[in-house]
């Protein structure tokens, strides 16, 4: 039965949604929130919902695995700042979202995950394809909902989008029993939110901001330490204004890469376990550490007892639980980074700190990120450096997890926020392929490259089929060393090279790519690397995979071994 627009369902519901079924209400609320794309996979509990979406203006992208769908939604959200939407059916479909939810939770990515659920009266009865998703996802979502009445559907979805995208962003799961998507609404919907307990503090207290500025101005060795929070807050301009005014040396976390232009002389690049030596030395010697939108993760601090021993700590964060959780904040400032930095810029004084800046410049000169090149095997770092040059540092880079991820962070040289799309907090292998796909959907005109390792790539490479299906010109680089490299490195450094479980035989990834319908390119000769990268970047008729045979026993340096202080790095000097 079709209506006069030739469609089965109304495309725009009347006020109050009376007469609409649950599925139509969901579609309407999604459209009202500007959702243009849903990444998902169908199933029994979702059939009525998918029937509504059949005629929808919302694009429905079907992945090959639900984990791929939610990572695509994450890549989409990270690239744009919009809330990503993922949809999976009940039972195994929903449980396949768990890794993505945990990933979005730890990296604060705004996601609304919609899961089908068995019929309301069957819940709790061990029904077919039933899983207690609200119970399972509780520790890894910002909040979750189980819809019990069609009357609540509109309000719940409105609340979900609000919670996912405000304050510290995060994933919200909505479990929708299949009967609710079919039930028709008889009384007008009330969309007024009922979340009195959710009041994120956005505006920084002016007294705290003044204290912070005072401490910063009085310091001789200040260091800005910024993380993903500045990106989520869209506060890059405000941050750079404060940095420039105060001429403050600046280091970022993995999640904060690009918030500062890494080619700037006062940029120390990334700090922490695989950060630069200059960032780590600066962290340990500074007398004033200004943390903005970062949470003192253990990858950054190294041994806590000896972390930043001389620093007065200013901590700006929107989440009060992050402040003084790991490291005691001397001047806590709770609120939105954009608001606080804007208020701070006039209070920061330009001061002469020549000795400190000279010390930092000397560290940068003496301990640059380096690797040995000129041999017969391609060095993975060279691939990334070359990619940075050829794209003029203006590409969206997704990564998997491991050595390749660290080299991407070290050698690409990021200049803008939302350029790097990587799994930081959870460190999810397999994130790269689907995240790149999601980012390409978000930015169809951008050059999007997944820098991946053979381990991570193998986990989710099946999603390349999705990219082929949609004709995306997304590019994948596999740094193939036939090892699970990061673990192998630890086994080399601390376990006498006993490579237990890390030898990783690979298929012919070029044949795999071609089998999927993508272009495959292979290179192993260093002299041919530039041409191969150009071939990859110039191919725009669909997805392309470049497989690079790289030096199998190359290690990531610097490295702060577990349990050591930041300044006790292994520097891995060139022999």
């Amino acid at each position: 039965m079709t209506n006069k627009e030739g469609k089965k369902y109304k495309m725009k519901l009347d006020q109050g949604f009376v007469g609409a079924c649950g599925g139509e209400i969901i579609q309407q609320i999604l459209m009202d929130h500007g959702v243009e794309i849903i990444f998902g996979f169908p199933g029994g509990a979702l059939i009525p919902m998918f029937d509504v979406l059949y005629d929808s203006s919302i694009k429905l992208v079907i992945s090959r695995h639900e984990q791929g769908a939610i990572h695509m939604a994450e890549g989409y959200a990270r690239a744009t700042g919009k809330t990503g939407v993922a949809m999976a059916t009940s039972g195994p479909g929903a449980t396949n979202l768990v890794t993505g939810l945990a990933n979005a939770y730890l990296d604060s990515t705004p996601i609304v995950a919609i899961t089908g659920q068995v019929k309301s009266h069957l819940i709790g009865n061990d029904a077919f394809q039933e899983a207690d998703m609200t119970g399972i996802s509780r520790p890894i979502t910002k909040h979750n909902f189980l819809v019990s009445k069609v009357e609540d559907l509109g309000r719940i979805f409105t609340e979900a989008f609000h919670i996912a995208s405000t304050g510290r962003p995060g994933p919200v799961l909505i479990d929708v029993p299949v009967d609710i998507t079919l039930n028709k609404l008889e009384t007008p919907a009330n969309l007024t939110m009922r979340i009195p307990g959710y009041k994120p503090s956005l505006s920084g207290h002016i007294r705290q901001i003044q204290s912070a500025a005072k401490v910063i101005n009085a310091s001789d060795k200040p260091l800005l330490y910024v993380g993903g929070g500045v990106m989520h807050s869209e506060a890059t301009d405000e941050l750079r204004a404060v940095q420039k005014k105060g001429q403050l040396p600046i280091t970022t976390t993995l999640m904060g890469l690009g918030v500062m232009d890494e080619t700037d002389p006062l940029s120390l690049q990334m700090v922490g376990m695989h950060g630069t030596a200059s960032a780590n030395y600066a962290m340990q010697e500074c007398d004033c550490l200004i943390a903005v939108g970062a949470r003192f993760d253990d990858r950054v601090t190294g041994k806590l007892e000896t972390f930043a021993p001389n620093a007065t700590i200013v901590h700006v964060d929107i989440d009060p639980t992050s402040i003084s959780k790991v490291v005691k904040a001397d001047v806590p400032v709770v609120g939105d980074a954009k608001d606080i930095l804007a208020k701070m810029v006039d209070l920061i004084e330009a001061r002469d700190r020549t000795p400190w800046l000279e010390r930092i410049a000397a560290w940068k000169r003496e301990y640059p990120l380096a690797y040995q090149y000129g041999g017969e095997v391609i060095k993975p770092q060279a691939v990334i450096e070359k990619l940075g040059e050829l794209t003029d540092h203006d590409a969206v880079i997704a990564t998997g997890v491991g050595q390749h991820q660290m080299w991407a962070a070290q050698f690409f040289k990021f200049r803008k926020p939302r350029q790097i799309i990587t799994s930081g907090g959870l460190g999810t292998m397999g994130f790269g392929v689907p995240a790149a796909i999601g980012a390409q959907f978000a930015c169809p005109d951008a050059t999007v490259v997944d820098i991946d390792g053979d381990g991570s790539f193998s986990m989710t490479m099946v999603e390349i089929i999705t990219a082929v299906q949609h004709g995306l010109r997304v590019k994948f680089i596999v740094l193939d060393n036939e090892y699970l490299g990061m673990v192998r490195q630890w086994q080399e450094m601390f376990f006498d090279k006993r490579y237990s479980g890390t030898v990783h035989p690979c298929p012919d990834f070029v044949k795999v790519a071609e089998g999927f319908g993508a272009k495959g390119i292979r290179v192993s000769d260093p002299a041919k690397l530039t041409d191969a990268l150009k071939e990859l970047l110039d191919y725009n008729d669909g997805p392309a995979v470049l497989v690079v045979a790289v030096d199998p026993e190359e290690n990531v340096y610097p490295m702060v071994p577990a349990g050591k202080s930041l300044h006790e790095m292994e520097l891995g000097r060139l022999a």
Binding site: R138, L146, P196, G197, T321, K325
Partner: protein
Amino acid sequence: MKHVITALVQNQPGVLAHISGMFAARGFNIDSLVVGRTEDADLSRMTIVVIGDDYVLEQVRKQLGKVIPVVKVRDFTNTENVQRDLLLIRVHAPAEKRPAVVDLVNLFRGRVADVARSSVVIELTGTEDKIEAFIDLVRPYGIRELARTGVIAMLRGGRK
């Protein structure tokens, strides 16, 4: 150190599971947790006794505040407040020992809620100290069974 915290939470399914799950995940040491209705049908009050130092207390307060259905968190540390716990305890009390046990009950202003051939069930409300003291005194007679509700608390002086 024991601290009493109350949280006013939305009266919805899953809130108790959410909060106790959060405490477990964060490794907080919870001595007791009580939840019940309030004068407002949409809100429940949860009273939690946490064991830890000031750092732990601050984290507990903040993590509770982060839970979406939690509307308000109050820390009773350093406040003038009324605290009560309810105890039901079955004490071994054969006929020849019963007068001594009942004597203790009266001294503590408790009540005997049940009498059986060789035991009594005693009901007692009071502060933690009072309850602990009573339990210590009846222990020599033999404790067959013990149940406590956990502490609930309210500020003194007409404040909310």
